[in-house]
Amino acid sequence: MDVMPRWVDVVLVPLLSLIIAFVISALVILAIGEDPIAAVNLMVTGALGSTYGWGYTLYYATNFIFTGLAVAIAFHARMFNIGGEGQAAIGGLGVAVVCLAFPWPHWALALPAAMLGGAIFGAAWAALPAYLQAKRGSHIVITTIMFNFIAAAVLNYVLVNILRPAGQMDPASERFPEGTNLPTMHEILAPIGIEFSRSAPLNITFFIAVIACVLVWILIWRTRLGFALRAYGHSEPAAVYAGISPTRIIMVAMLISGALAGLMAINNVMGEAERLVLNSVEGAGFIGIAVALMGRSHPFGVFLAAILFGFLYQGGAELALWTSIPRELIVVIQALVILFTGALDNMVRMPIERFFLAMHRARKAREAGSAE
């Protein structure tokens, strides 16, 4: 049955889907009376033409790596975690609680603690939907959607009524103490003589995100747990027959997923804003879905897709700044990527499959012909 070479499945199909998504996006830009080529030029120079642009591109990419990995790991266990947005928001709360609880002397001490805070809060927010899925059969998609809204309400309440300093109008926590400020890329690269933009928010979290990619890869393909996870994702009855407990897999996969989404907060809350604000996640949880789909749930694919979306995000901001194309263009591109790499995957795949099947048959016929 496997007539398609592996590279077609891994590279060609996603690439074609992506191209279709971009062509339609270009048509959309044309339709609103703008020039797509000029738009692409502007996006490339804005997002990749300077260390400032790169600083923002990779900063956004860092967010998307975490949320993309979160969605990807749940996908491996055949679960669709739409709750990344809420888990990252609650993770932000965890990071804020850790940062504000204690006058941290140095970021090297604060960072591990904040990571733990973000991961635990994020995982906790995923725990109840996971438990309800495992024990009561409640559909994880619906419960995680509901938990996104509940998270928004919780965060709103906590910020307005508890974390907001007296006398301040906007619903936000106070600034984190100096000792929790993470080193930016400018501070990291200056000692070795590389000049990096001072104002870009890219910080040390980027490296943590890269390490997270490696760790997730090891977890999925080099550990017993990862094997159980994938086995469950491929066939629940087979996994049960092999002695794998569905409850355990659902719980573990969702806890890791929630923890990864929560970890995102060390980038946007601790690294960039340095305080907790309303809607700090800004849709990164949802972009994680597009990133995981495009990256075929592989950590390396997620890494590449996250950088692509980081580019789109920063490029889109530049577009909104210099042209009359609103930022929402990125939402459209994101939707098209999800649509073509996720839902309409078969539309792209079927003709290619048919082509390779025909090639296969032709080769078989030729072999049969020469054998006679």
Partner: protein, 336 residues
């Protein structure tokens, strides 16, 4: 709390429940046929934009309504293509449609009207006005006596208050939404089409064996879903408010989905669930009333999140189990 306040809260509950009810019934048709639809939100949003935009351009709200329904059907067909024809993941398709609508509406609004992603305010024939039922106190009485309508209603007797404030004075879409409930019940449970539609959501192979097209039925269900979502969206921008603003569906598609689960995929229960959630939304706007009732300060966020919390509780099966249609979410593959 006096009687009039109660009536006013119920009145705004009905107004707020209407889009939920239409979207909920839309989801009911789709999910009963085995097509999960988390794209209700996106379809409402698209319809809200196109009905407001076209109503503004033509000056006729009815043309706007048609345009809204049309845009919603286009997204429905996209969902149908992805989940029926190409057997893709219905949930992912729904997510994509939500984002597509969220992005495109602002993009097009900006390109057409240049007002930061909104449409100009609708006036006169561009809006659905309230319908004054016979004998109800309305703007005409206010004009005749030269006093304000709220004054007149405050002085009227309880029956007149109930009739004038709660029952009369809504836009026609509110009454259409309410009529959709018995209509949905009749179609689903008293017609051949309804029986087949429900069967295709439970056991499509059996329907196929009987020689009835699974694909045709599912497309029909998805189209009905599109029409109802279109009316819901048009209601948002041309009746509830006067014009489209960015993200104006504001999670209503998801509350409708919650109501659908709450109602366990049954039309009459959908009405009750939507009225309940509409009441919660109305109370969130009137926190003074809530505080007067329970005598403790209730954070507005609690009221905001109550529909979602209730849905999770229902899903958890502690208050009666919600069992979705059995073939829901599964693409149908004909046996070879």
């Amino acid at each position: 709390m006096d009687f009039l306040t109660l009536i006013q809260v119920l009145d705004s509950s009905v107004r707020l429940a209407t889009p939920l009810l239409l979207a909920c019934l839309a989801g009911l048709f789709s999910e009963r046929a085995g097509i999960f639809d988390i794209g209700l939100e996106g379809k409402m949003l698209a319809a809200a934009f196109f009905s407001a935009a076209i109503a503004y351009m033509t000056g006729s709200v009815w043309v706007g309504l048609l345009a809204g329904i049309g845009s919603s059907i286009v997204l429905s067909l996209l969902h149908g293509a992805a989940s029926i024809t190409f057997r893709g993941n219905q949930l992912i398709s729904g997510v994509a449609i939500n984002f597509l609508a969220a992005g495109l509406t602002v993009l097009i609004a900006q390109s057409w009207f240049n007002q930061g992603g909104r449409t100009p305010s609708l006036m006169g024939g561009g809006r659905f006005e309230g319908i004054e039922l016979p004998f109800a106190l309305g703007p005409k009485d206010a004009e005749a006596t030269g006093r304000s309508l709220s004054e007149l209603i405050a002085e009227a007797g309880p029956i007149s208050q109930l009739y004038s404030e709660l029952i009369s004075g809504h836009s026609i879409l509110v009454y259409i939404a309410l009529l959709c409930v018995p209509a949905t019940w009749y179609i689903l449970f008293r017609t051949r089409f309804g029986l087949r539609l429900r069967a295709v959501g439970e056991n499509p192979a059996a329907v196929d064996t009987a020689g009835i097209s699974v694909i045709g039925l599912r497309y029909a269900a998805v189209m009905i879903c599109g029409v109802l979502c279109g009316i819901a969206g048009a209601y948002l921008s041309t009746a509830l408010q006067a014009g489209f603003v960015k993200d104006m569906a504001a999670g209503r598609g998801f509350i409708a989905l919650a109501a659908l689960i709450f109602a366990k995929w049954r039309p009459w229960h959908a009405l009750y669930a939507c009225l309940l959630f509409g009441l919660l939304q109305a109370l969130a706007l009137r926190s003074d009333v809530v505080e007067g009732l329970v005598r403790v300060e209730v954070p507005v966020q609690v009221l905001d999140s109550l529909p979602y919390v209730l849905t999770v509780v229902i899903l958890a099966g502690f208050v009666g189990k919600a069992i979705p249609p059995r073939a829901g979410g599964e693409p149908y593959v004909k046996e070879r």
